[in-house]
């Protein structure tokens, strides 16, 4: 047993109102730069729908994730190492920009500069890629809230798979929102696909990051990730991905997307898991066993042998304590209602979801029946095959039993708590119907409905010497303005600024400047290459220029 710690997230889908606040705040924090205009580390999809990038779940087409060979070994779906290397010159599985969408802006100037006249000036859309006028035909959220569903929803790979079942009853439609971020997988296919070894899993907290100095732009990770959560910065020629907001998490703060979530539906905490067991768990033969295999890799943080093994691996006491109080462990393994997204990709994803009961409740209520009655809801879960089977394709590789189980627990909680709200006595039989006690139901209710900030986010701060810790915090992109990639294109390509999303490259301009003052007396004349971010000449390399424009960003080249 080799115990490792892993940051994880659980999202309670019943509460997601599809407001996209999480996407927007993440974008403001991480991807509001040239080259990643089209990138949403966090995106919210409406299901059934096509998703972003379009039809990303169709692995026949994109070849992401792992498959189990007939001999029981795991292999990347895109093929062995030599096969994939031979396709490095042109990656046949790479999504094009059009599969995401072509980012655009509007010619606002025409609004301001139009001469007085009878015609109302219009701001035409202009592509940010070609700079030419364009027609907007698709975006990251074109089919939001089932917009255009008659045309788009039938193309949804899951709808296709379920076939006639859905077509017949599409009038009795259902929908839910699915916020997606990088899964920070235990068995990440992106890491395995990277020819230069530039994507790595952090040993301390399992966050998967791209080393911007090590990435060589081979773009094999983009196609390797089955969730399409590695993106290619088309200006810098480097891969970028969700960072789990590591500068915040290291300081004990929740990620930006969780912090700003309007529905307060996200939980962040630690898992302790057995790294030695991951490969075997990801290779189980029957896809329906993957969920249990994934749960079994996660260790019980209260088990004394686990605690001893964690200590032996050098995991700090406050981290072990945090793992014991972890809300995500409670939801995945103790109450067992959270499910992983597409376990059949065999990457062991670590962002889990509580499936939404609302499609069932809506269906029940629309018939005039009591949407809070246990038996009615249980019967509906059994009878409403479409939501259940659709959810099963999303969360359990098609096995309806765990989805039904989660939904029944949610239904039982609903009717159990209603009695309490109405002042009736507690009905243990409701809890017993889902194999729980009234007490555990109430605990679960507290966690799902009223958990406070510190109960939803149990994040121990990273252990670093004081000086290092300050380094990391200063490296957060939130305080980095004039951002990287915004300086336009130099002779070598995109200006070599880089987002703080990157471990070896967090030294922002601001910090470099602060250092100059600190360091000058002792290191006059010495050039500190390590603090240089690659764009302008490093501090101390040349005598200071006299002109005042020294710090002006490089100008845009035609």
């Amino acid at each position: 047993m080799r115990v490792m710690a892993q940051m994880g997230m659980v999202m309670n889908l019943d509460k997601c109102i599809g407001c996209h606040t999480c996407s927007v705040t993440c974008k403001q924090a991480w991807t509001n730069r040239t080259g990643v205009e089209y990138v949403w580390f966090n995106n919210v999809e409406t299901r059934p729908g096509l998703g972003y990038p379009r039809l990303h779940e169709d692995q026949e087409k994109w070849g992401g994730g792992w498959v189990r060979t007939s001999r029981g070994k795991l292999k990347l779906r895109a093929g062995g190492r030599i096969k994939r290397l031979s396709r490095i010159f042109s990656n046949p599985k790479l999504p094009g920009l059009k599969d995401y969408y072509e980012p655009w802006t509007y010619e606002y100037d025409t609004l301001l500069n139009a001469p007085a006249g009878d015609d109302v000036p219009v701001a035409r859309p202009k592509s940010l890629i070609t700079g030419l006028p364009m027609q907007i035909r698709w975006s990251a959220n074109w089919d939001d809230d089932l917009g255009g569903a008659p045309e788009y929803a039938p193309q949804d790979p899951i709808v296709k798979k379920l076939g006639d079942l859905v077509k017949l009853e599409f009038e009795k439609t259902f929908m839910f929102h699915l916020p997606r971020i990088c899964e920070h997988c235990l068995n990440p296919a992106c890491v395995a696909s990277c020819p230069s070894g530039a994507i790595y899993k952090r040993a301390e907290d399992g966050i998967v990051l791209v080393d911007q100095d090590g990435c060589r732009g081979w773009r094999m990770c983009v196609s390797g990730c089955p969730y399409k959560k590695v993106y290619f910065n088309h200006r810098t020629g480097k891969a970028e991905k969700c960072t789990f907001c590591y500068p915040r998490v290291e300081a004990g703060l929740p990620t930006v997307c969780a912090e700003t979530c309007v529905g307060r539906l996200r939980y962040i905490g630690l898992f302790l898991y057995d790294a030695d067991a991951v490969l075997a768990a990801a290779s189980v033969e029957d896809e329906h066993d993957l969920l249990e295999a994934q749960r079994s890799v996660i260790l019980d943080p209260d088990d004394p042998t686990v605690i001893a093994a964690a200590r032996a691996e050098g995991i700090a006491e406050d981290w072990i304590e945090a793992a014991q109080k972890s809300p995500v462990y409670a939801l995945t393994n103790r109450y067992r209602i959270a499910l992983p997204l597409h376990p059949e990709y065999r990457t062991m994803p670590m962002v889990w979801y509580i499936p939404p009961l609302s499609p069932v409740v809506d269906a029940v209520s629309s018939t005039g029946a009591d949407g809070e009655d246990k038996d009615t809801l249980f019967a509906a879960i059994d009878q409403l095959r479409i939501p259940v089977e659709y959810l099963a394709e999303v969360f359990t590789a098609g096995d309806p039993a765990p989805v039904e189980n989660s939904l029944r627990i949610l239904a039982a909680m609903r009717s159990y708590m209603r009695r309490i709200n109405l002042g009736d006595e507690r009905d243990e039989s409701i809890a017993a119907a889902v194999g729980m006690t009234g007490q555990t139901i109430e605990e679960l209710y507290r966690l799902l409905a009223i958990a406070k900030y510190e109960d939803r986010y149990v994040i121990p701060a990273a252990h670093v010497e004081a000086g290092r810790a300050l380094d990391e915090i200063a490296g957060c992109s939130l305080d980095f303005d004039g951002g990287p990639g915004m300086g336009g294109m130099g002779v070598f390509g995109e200006a070599s600024g880089t987002p703080a999303s990157v471990e070896t490259f967090q030294l922002t301009k601001q910090r470099a400047e602060a250092d100059r003052y600190d360091d000058l007396p002792e290191s006059r004349g010495a050039v500190d290459l390590l603090t240089w971010s690659g764009g302008e000449a490093p501090p101390g390399m040349f005598p200071p220029r006299r002109s005042a424009e020294q710090d002006e960003p490089p100008t845009e080249e035609e």
């Binding site: 042109s90 090590g214 088309h234 690659g534």
Partner: protein, 240 residues
């Protein structure tokens, strides 16, 4: 003049190449990338890039055999000059043709696709001019001189001169006796190498062969390089 061109220039180019690569690696790792443009356009790239790359890698291999391996070695292996010539011309033409077709496709794509042209830097253009010129002269040599013309045993002069550069005893007279088109090809190649470190061609030195041997999942410790800066004086880790 002769010794300037065949003694001073090669060392100048070589210095520029080596120092330039070192400099770029130290100072601009972030810019060290193939800067793929596949997201913009895939239809032409899907043909052009593999054709060009497999072609140029074959050409590279041919140059190693032709320039680095002395004639006496192949003769001792029982390969006659005629036999070698035949082999070199046929494989050279095939790989050369692949390279040329691929390169033309790539250049056409760069120019005709608005999104790709928009991110083409001055260095890209300079690189394509140099690369195109070197390849054009190389093709002229193989097709016009070697295949259609009488042929020239470059392993008796150009190759010997090439190796002499690396023994630090460059023999300029050898190049003098080679046909002019060979001389131009060699000169242009020196220019290309001098330009190399400052273009996207640096990606060639990152050819990911190590991938074949490494474990799939890479772990890195936050402490190992949690900071890109060496600890300041007084903050060194215990025991270091």
């Amino acid at each position: 003049m002769t010794s300037f061109v065949w003694v001073v220039l090669p060392y100048a180019a070589l210095t520029c190449f080596i120092v330039g690569l070192f400099w770029r690696y130290r100072y601009d790792k972030f810019g060290w990338t193939s800067r793929s443009s596949q997201m913009y356009e895939n239809r032409l790239l899907a043909w052009g890039s593999p054709l060009f790359h497999f072609g140029i890698l074959g050409v590279l291999l041919g140059h190693i055999v032709g320039l680095v391996v002395p004639e006496t070695w192949t003769t001792r292996l029982g390969l006659s000059e005629e036999g070698y010539h035949l082999m070199a011309v046929t494989t050279g033409s095939v790989f050369g043709l692949m390279t040329v077709v691929g390169l033309l496709l790539l250049i056409y794509r760069r120019r005709s696709t608005p999104s790709v042209f928009r991110v083409t830097t001055r260095m890209d253009k300079a690189m394509y001019v140099m690369l195109g010129a070197v390849i054009a002269m190389g093709m002229y040599n193989s097709l016009v001189v070697q295949l259609l013309g009488g042929g020239h045993d470059y392993r008796a002069d150009v190759a010997v001169w090439f190796r002499s550069v690396f023994w630090f005893q460059p023999d300029a007279a050898l190049m003098q006796s080679a046909p002019l088109s060979f001389q131009i090809h060699a000169l242009l190649a020196m220019g290309l190498f001098a330009l190399w470190p400052f273009t996207r061609l640096v990606h060639v030195f990152s050819a990911p062969v190590g991938y074949l041997a490494r474990p799939y999942i890479v772990y890195r410790s936050r402490d190992a390089h949690g900071s890109a800066r060496a600890p300041r004086r007084g903050w060194e880790k215990i025991g270091s």
